[in-house]
């Protein structure tokens, strides 16, 4: 069984407090770690405005996780998102070789506008 690299972006509802938001993000990261996935990169984009209303909200906390995992894991991981009502949206994509090169550059901050803060912990 081969491992693949994935990237998940999820949006948490803005009603959470700062601490709750961090806890929730940590929960998903911890879930991946427990299932034996390897976290490659994580980003927290903070509170961002949405382009359109989702669940009657105009803003959301964006988080990104890039990880290496067994393809079997993705299904259960996405179920976790569906069960959690604090998650407004999520998207998981698998990364091909060009995407990997791109995300590596992105992580090293080679793009001028990408202002990134490492999510705490």
């Amino acid at each position: 069984m081969s491992l693949k690299q994935y990237e998940t972006v999820f949006i948490l509802t803005p009603v959470l407090s700062d601490q709750q938001m961090k806890d929730t993000a940590l929960k998903f990261k911890q879930y991946l770690l427990d299932q034996g996935a390897k976290i490659v990169n994580e980003e927290s984009w903070g509170l961002k405005k949405l382009a359109y209303t989702i669940d009657h909200k105009n803003t959301g906390f964006y988080h990104l996780l890039q990880f290496e995992a067994d393809p079997q894991l993705i299904k259960t991981f996405e179920v976790e998102f569906r069960r959690d009502e604090r998650v407004m949206r999520f998207l998981t994509v698998s990364l091909d070789k060009y995407a990997l090169a791109y995300s590596k550059k992105r992580k090293n901050g080679e793009f001028k506008k990408s202002v990134k803060e490492e999510a705490s912990v």
Partner: protein
Amino acid sequence: MTLVNESVNRTEVRKKYCRFKKMGIKYIDYKDASFLLKFVNEQGKLLPRRLTGTSLKYQRKVSQAVKRSRHLGLMPYVTDSLK
């Protein structure tokens, strides 16, 4: 005197090119909404290849990226004044 078609100066017509091929861009990031804005019109609809000059291979990737971006609320599905 008959009408004679005069030759039209067409040197100003520039050939379209695919910006991804020219710049060597291999991956189109759905997280970069400001870049993807170049490929949609004011209403947030995808522009056709005949206007942007993008090759088919990359047009498919652009469209995929725009759709992902819309799903995540980074770009609108419908709007009136994007630009």
